[in-house]
């Protein structure tokens, strides 16, 4: 088991390298002269060819792309992802601040969706094809089918405006003294909006996984031994059924990041999603690239953690990877 984990950890490095290559390739794909993207258009119109050449030189743009990639990579390894053109701040700093805002929302979304998804999934699986199962299944499907941003808009309208119980957006109430309660009130709606889709898919996975396990031979045996149905489910079924769910959970992070892009925009919540949207809006390529890289690294780490959790949870695992 530990050898398997060691291999997984070592594998991270080539993966990371691949991630940076793809990341840089997108950057290189960008049409237009990066110099003109960085300099005020008015000023640019007054610059001579020599000025432009000098600016390109200064930014290292005269070198071939692979060389530029290596330069960028060597800096990136040292944690220097360059400067955000728009924020005038190191990309890393901008991203750190944004992540600091996003994390509470994502964690809330993860907790809510895990608890709700698995619980409802179990309820659904225990009484398959009953009324409650149909209701829950519809709920789950709707979660997967409603565009997240649209759900968020409806939440703002219904909860924040009509019912007037939670703030409409932002990280804190502007001007109010900082308090934990205020922060929590602000992450609640975005967290719920973000959780909805994940809840739906987790519910379906749990249900399917549990139903499958319930029909396995050893379950039948357990039942034949005279164990009460619920006990069977809890003792034998759940543990095995939840194994694949762990993997699913570990794989949620990318879609959480994706969801955050839309949800944070709607809630005017300055997390990583909104920052990325602004970066695309302003064509702030260093920020864009830094953001993609950092989210990719986080996903990589979370996958690793899911793997570790999986091996811990299931001692049977003796992976022979391809």
């Amino acid at each position: 088991m530990s050898r398997y984990l060691l291999r997984r950890i070592l594998l991270i490095f080539p993966l990371l390298l691949g991630v940076t290559i793809i990341n840089y390739a997108i950057y290189a794909l960008a049409p237009g002269d990066p110099v003109s993207a960085m300099i005020d258009p008015y000023e640019l119109s007054h610059m001579t060819d020599e000025d432009l050449q000098a600016a390109r030189e200064a930014l290292g743009l005269n070198k071939p792309i692979p060389v530029r990639y290596l330069i960028w990579l060597s800096k990136a390894i040292q944690g220097n992802l360059g400067y955000s053109i728009w924020f005038n701040t190191p990309v890393f700093e901008v991203m750190l601040r944004a992540l600091g805002n996003s994390m509470p929302v994502m964690i809330l979304a993860l907790i809510v969706s895990t608890v709700a998804g698995i619980t409802l999934g179990i309820v659904s699986a225990l009484k398959p094809y009953s009324l409650i199962d149909s209701v829950l299944t519809t709920f789950a499907f709707a979660g997967v089918a409603v565009p997240g941003f649209f759900f968020a808009l409806l939440l703002i309208y219904a909860v924040a405006i009509r019912m007037d119980i939670l703030p409409t957006g932002g990280v804190t109430t502007p001007g109010a003294p900082p308090s934990l309660g205020d922060r929590l009130a602000h992450i609640l709606l975005p967290g719920l909006a973000l959780a909805y889709e994940t809840t739906g898919s987790l519910l379906r996975y749990t249900r399917a996984s549990l139903l499958e396990v319930l029909h396995q031979d050893y379950m039948t045996t357990a039942r034949a031994k005279g164990l009460v149905n619920h006990m069977v489910v809890l003792r034998h079924g759940l543990r095995n059924a939840l194994l694949p769910v762990i993997t699913i959970l570990g794989l949620r992070l990318p879609s959480l990041f994706g969801g955050a892009v839309l949800i944070e925009t709607v809630f005017n919540y300055p997390g990583i999603g909104l920052t990325m949207v602004q970066a695309t809006e302003m064509r702030d390529y260093p920020l864009l690239m830094g953001g993609v890289l950092i989210t990719a690294i986080l996903v990589l780490l979370s996958n690793l953690m899911a793997d570790m959790a999986y091996t811990v949870a299931d001692p049977r695992i003796r992976y022979e990877e391809s």
Binding site: A30, P31, G32, D33, S36, A37, M38, I39, D40, P41, Y42, E43, L44, S45, A55, A58, L59, G82, Y83, I85, W86, F87, N88, T89, V94, R97, L153, I156, A160, I161, D164, P167, T168, G169, G170, V171, T173, P174, G175, A176, T265, V266, F267, N268, P270, L274, T275, V277, Q278, E281, M282, R283
Partner: protein, 568 residues
Amino acid sequence: MKRLASRTISRRQFLKGGALAAAGGLLAACAPAASPAPADAPAAESEPATASDRMGGTLVFGYPQKTSYQDLLAVEHNAGNRRYYLIGLTHNCLVNISTDYTQWIPELAESWEFDGNRAIFNLRQGVKWHDGEPFTSADVLFTFGRLIGHPNVRQWNGVRHFKGIVVGMTEFSEGEADEVIGLSAPDDHTFVFEMTNPYRAAFLEKLLNFAIMPKHLLGQIPEEQWGIDEQGQQGLKNTEYAKKQGIGTGPFRVTNYIPDQIVEYEPFDDYFGGKPQLDKLVFVPYTDQLAMAAAVEKGECHIAIRTPQSEYERFQTMDHVDIVLNHGPSAFAWYHNIRYVLADVRVRQGLSLALNRDQIAKDFFFGTVEGAKASLEYGDYGISPDAAQWFEYNPQRARQLLEEGGWDFDYTFRLGMSSLSPTYEPLYAILREMWDAVGVKTEFHIMAAEYTNILNNPPHDFDTLFSGYGWGLTPGGFIHNFTDPRWGPADEKGVAMIDELILLDDEAALREGALGLQEYASELQRHCVIAQVPGIHVVNKRVQNGDVVPVYGPRTHWIDWVNVHMSA
């Protein structure tokens, strides 16, 4: 000054024009974002609060912005420049202008006089920077003589306001001289500009763009570090001053600044106009229009400027807010590139006459603005009928002019923009429909990442570009519409008219000149102006003594920052 009654709308149609630099406005691209400018008010003019009002409170001020102001270094502020909203709180200019553009208001200069080509400013005494240091003429000299025109500081375009206007500015900015010889500070409280011509109001107007910066702080940063470093960053912006302090002479000082999220201010005790009454002032940028509208509705945000026109009718039904309609001197326009298909003036005239601007104002802008009536609206002089005729809706004549001008009806006219904003798409759709009705086929030309390249570099391959458009506070501010190289060769006649006009002093002659310029620019149709940019500002009724007239335009004396406060 009286507060606006509830649910009534003040429609200030002064439109004296604004010195919106076309260049700045263009940066903001497709959703033409020029921006209103906060400015502080010397207390001398404001009435004290009534006794029943509770002083103090926290005022939350929201404005729409896709991205943040980048820093607190508020050297210059053009339309489209994010710092625009904030600078008047922390910094002062030498002079300011009243909201209706009729009166110059002393700020850091107590008074001024013109003597031939010389402009002499007597500076206010006893003014302090937020850190307690005294303000003197050395700060003014530093601002105009080092900062603005410094050859290392290539990213700012403010210097163009003074090139050829202040003696020696061109040479200094091009690195040919060590200092600007046309500037001098005879004593601690006097400052003199040597101008190339006897400019008057046109010169004062230029000063509106520049906040005076502290020499004792910025002067400590070596000038060779001001420019762009190897990271592509401007050295001056990469300083404690730009990122944290933002120390100025204005009524408020920065206590907390998180880019893109919030700027918090506290009142400055030693403000020369008196200590502001608010306990705290908070500026919040909203990336999403709906989020801002919702925050206003809930009272989370007390003054919101430039709210979306689509929410206008809803705000009207709310009891807790007042609406201020105030558009300022800017409009939406197509910037025609006259190098290619629009070379013939009749074609451009035809394109203009094909548009039903009143319909657009009603359908797209929810009736919150008026369709443009001239290429230049200047002062109280009104609109010349000769200018207005090019803004009438006349599809028959439009078609006729297009034919006479040799328009190729098989050509697909490319409507340029940096990206297609979903918010403005209906407006484009309406415009396209109207052009289609006279036989002009159109398509979108989304420039995306190549925007600046196409715009600035030959062959300038675009037909027309949608952007914000400045009407010009004075004819001097309008000159860019004739000279900007991006739209084709400069128009010599227009430039000559302006050159003559900006030296005029006589009211009658000025009026005649302004209307003449208006007629000329409208007939020329280098820019197809569509409608005023809506300025729909919403103010919570808890805001007291606000005298709020937010302006979508250049910096003015628009909120009485000293006396504004919140009621319980």
